[in-house]
Assembly symmetry: D2
Homo-oligomer: 342 residues x 4
Amino acid sequence: MRVGVLTGGGDCPGLNAVIRAIVRKGVQEYGYDFTGFRDGWRGPLEGRTVPLDIPAVRGILPRGGTILGSSRTNPLQAEDGVRRVRENLAGQDIDALIAIGGEDTLGVAATLYEEHGLPCVGVPKTIDNDLSGTDFTFGFDTAVNIATEAIDRLHTTAESHMRVLVCEVMGRHAGWIALHSGLAGGANVILIPEHRFDLDEVCGWITSRFEAAYAPIVVVAEGAMPREGEMVLKDESHDSFGHVRLSGVGEWLAKQIERRTGKEARTTVLGHVQRGGTPSAFDRWLATRFGLHAIDCVHEGDFGKMVALQGTRIVRIPISEATARLKTVDPELYAEAGVFFG
Amino acid sequence: MRVGVLTGGGDCPGLNAVIRAIVRKGVQEYGYDFTGFRDGWRGPLEGRTVPLDIPAVRGILPRGGTILGSSRTNPLQAEDGVRRVRENLAGQDIDALIAIGGEDTLGVAATLYEEHGLPCVGVPKTIDNDLSGTDFTFGFDTAVNIATEAIDRLHTTAESHMRVLVCEVMGRHAGWIALHSGLAGGANVILIPEHRFDLDEVCGWITSRFEAAYAPIVVVAEGAMPREGEMVLKDESHDSFGHVRLSGVGEWLAKQIERRTGKEARTTVLGHVQRGGTPSAFDRWLATRFGLHAIDCVHEGDFGKMVALQGTRIVRIPISEATARLKTVDPELYAEAGVFFG
Amino acid sequence: MRVGVLTGGGDCPGLNAVIRAIVRKGVQEYGYDFTGFRDGWRGPLEGRTVPLDIPAVRGILPRGGTILGSSRTNPLQAEDGVRRVRENLAGQDIDALIAIGGEDTLGVAATLYEEHGLPCVGVPKTIDNDLSGTDFTFGFDTAVNIATEAIDRLHTTAESHMRVLVCEVMGRHAGWIALHSGLAGGANVILIPEHRFDLDEVCGWITSRFEAAYAPIVVVAEGAMPREGEMVLKDESHDSFGHVRLSGVGEWLAKQIERRTGKEARTTVLGHVQRGGTPSAFDRWLATRFGLHAIDCVHEGDFGKMVALQGTRIVRIPISEATARLKTVDPELYAEAGVFFG
Amino acid sequence: MRVGVLTGGGDCPGLNAVIRAIVRKGVQEYGYDFTGFRDGWRGPLEGRTVPLDIPAVRGILPRGGTILGSSRTNPLQAEDGVRRVRENLAGQDIDALIAIGGEDTLGVAATLYEEHGLPCVGVPKTIDNDLSGTDFTFGFDTAVNIATEAIDRLHTTAESHMRVLVCEVMGRHAGWIALHSGLAGGANVILIPEHRFDLDEVCGWITSRFEAAYAPIVVVAEGAMPREGEMVLKDESHDSFGHVRLSGVGEWLAKQIERRTGKEARTTVLGHVQRGGTPSAFDRWLATRFGLHAIDCVHEGDFGKMVALQGTRIVRIPISEATARLKTVDPELYAEAGVFFG
């Protein structure tokens, strides 16, 4: 029995922990052989492989990134893609394929399984925590810890200079990182893509915060949007030459706040540091358990399934179900945080 | 409406986050007044109080410990305890009491509510994660992160000297910290109180690890016990004068391993560093949500309940149910980790 | 004897540690009273004070920022500034003034001492480490640790996607943070303000790095400049509307690298997180010792002096000497790092 | 030209950074070949080698421990040791040998150079910072950071329970780690081997601390000793059977404090976590520079020398000078910290 493994999409702390768990249990308990496919679906598409055995996974548990590399290649959009994938899998004598990735990577796995009968198992991966069917995805806890530590640091700077500090975190379509790190970091305003914000209200919170002799921290997801919409971001931001400028929402927000409240405001865009480096203990634990259960799926011939966390148990759900819709922040949950605004 | 708050038992990162959330929502949303009781149940028993309002909870979110102090005082075992508690609550015009604590502290709350009609709400707290009815308790994630970071550090020392390193972590009755940090830290042996260990088997794992040119890490919960039982710990450990010596299981284990495998072994006892300091982002998020929901219980007059995490939702369960039995590590869950032993 | 204390300029981890040490030793050993001046030189200028005694400094050692607030107010440029400062100091019965700050703040202290006879003592503070006369300033080590941890995280992202990652760190006029964090983080290119960089050479290093199957990390100080000069930064950067755009050097660099090498490049601008939060152990130790020696200066009537670190000893040098010229990175020291480029 | 490298003594964060810098500069700038000797002086003594080239040092900069392994083997005490070392070096065509280690490892290098003409260069390594001739050794800053973080955590536990917390840190003969982490962590008592402590005085500080409503933290170096001497440690410590017991000074101290002050006291022994894991930015910077300068010594034929940090410069001193006497804490420096006691 030979099992292929690939990692697709943006990198995420915990990928290596999944790979290690799959290989350790697969080799030691089930006697399987493994083939690593390089750079996501590009691996099976182009027949790019790397050896994957016990020595290859030594020492990778605490390391961020993925030893298999990653890409956003979609074989379904490549010419003759399905046939090429099928041939390359056959050429490597692959009996089952474990795909670790987000919506796109798993969507491919779902299609290959359902429409083409390829024996795929999915492991959910997204720093943004926006995949349905699982309480959490690994990588998310690490990102939230990094963002929270940054917010902790920004507090002291804000207080010393009585400035507004805007911290832009990841989350293009879902505000999970903003919500969790904002709550954990004691932010005074949290803005998420699921809820268009009202600039007057935001400035009101900021002003009332200053009146209480605090310096406010605003945590904003990169995908958050003012009520007035995207055009506003373009129209009201100019550089020193008077030219229009497209900036991130964080920078735009700081300028608007300065203009309307008369207070100094600064922006920090956390960016890629949120997705790299050693995973938190929670993410290593979750990723390891995902790996152990994914290889069990293979062992039981339970294909077309994705492993998921529900409570403290690892369960299996159809991959297609998990990728059917984005898991966004519930309005009620967002409202719960509102008591800390202002 | 005046609400009393107390924290009992061993300290735990996240206690202050609970207190802050209770007060912020209680004051801002419900217009309540608060009284802080000092040092757990000793506060209501002896009428020891501290002011508790918005300024008092400023800046405490990221701080470990508890601004209310703690103790293990049990008013049910004090002479005339219930009457004194009742009188002191009445004397302070307390309409409801929120008790934040573990098995013992909450057990008192359950009895006071069920047998004496006192309007109590419980918030679960234990670093050991061994309370029933809740997926996790705050403080646990912080402890696991600290232990995992320590294990990461021990790996490099073990490899450089090709030594066994034994890391003793908290967990007198339940092995959750050992299991999670052992999995996250890549331990080669994990020993928990729920499963008596066989010394020969342990030494076998260690020997096979060295044969694979690795240096083994053993994570042992302080309450883990060899198959031969507690007497062995006493009988086989002697100091340099030849006298019997009661040591922790970690130190005992290192000596046994040295004797049986001929390899050098060293022990690190993590101790109190696991329970102090700034909480992880997860623990701040969980503790904050527990606080918000606890004050909602008070607002709705839903007494005798404890807030709990189930999946990603905060639910309410009878306090008595949560304290009825210890939540220990399931044999199946422990077996799952076995693939990494040896 | 009453001593005034102020903190000026950008905030910096360790300011509170200095204040605490001054007050602890001043009160306990010399029996002094203290007055805190708020917001840098604005405090003495406008007579803004806060109480400063043992309770006020309790628990502030590990906290970033400054309990005294800060500003960039320069009393020498305010109308009648010197007279107002002198009167406010007299009004508060101040016998000596300790100014903690960078070039600007200390420059004022030097002038007030030398030209107006005010009894000032200086404590050097700059995250950038660019003050002369002292081996290191506190805050610098914390900033370097934060930047290094970020670079560690960026490595795994770079490797997983085989991308260039550009990390822009603080340092407008001096490249100390870039040099130290770049060396500590294993960067493949380090660019500093003291040495204009050649874009072709930078791209050559990057290409050769990819040829060796590595993903390169570029650490660039915010004040680093291409050989072609500042105009280039303006001219070659356009937004999606085709308009000119002023961006930081980090973003500009990533675009140039993409254009010239054909490799994907991403930028992270660390920004304010470098200067906030809890100080490293080194910075707490240095800041504490600076505070202890500053109050000794006052005790000995040794005014016009700044405390400084030379080797492991704290010495005193004239403030004017320290602020006379910026301490920049020596070309030889920069050359030493060159072996790791490319 | 072929250069041998070995690492001896206890492991220390930064060893790998030294090795990497030596190899990177040696290969790229000077065109040297390298041989790694395994396990300290045991390598040359028994002819145990490992390949050492650019690929071998890839990615090791942030990793603790040493890829070369370590031991305390002393070839001068082995039968025919010098001859065997000489023969093995000749057998490997070694033209120069770089020894990275502490007093013992470097002492061997000094003797081999001075009495036997072997071309040795030394790099100082000790977590304890007790080597003469250098302001700091790498590993020390990491250990101090780890100890300080632990002390930060212990504070919150101590405050919550109003307990004494004793933290035992490394330092058998010198109190550098205790002094630096004690100052940085805000300890109320710091005890070092260089100054025998008076138990009454210690208990006085603790009592006065409680009177000020604080919970005291005691930082004690493992080699600190009461005025009454070592016998006291043996005589007054008994286990629950009434038997004499040899414990560490930390545990002994906690018992004495409990007995004399009536306050609860707990001990944490940090142990091996202080010496493992990823090095701090300072240690990586220092270790890297030591490595670069050590290979320069080889290149210039400047043997019998050890690289050292003086201020911010790397200098060279005779190895024999550095190992002639231990660098202990100066009484004056210790007295400086006294203002924080009690």
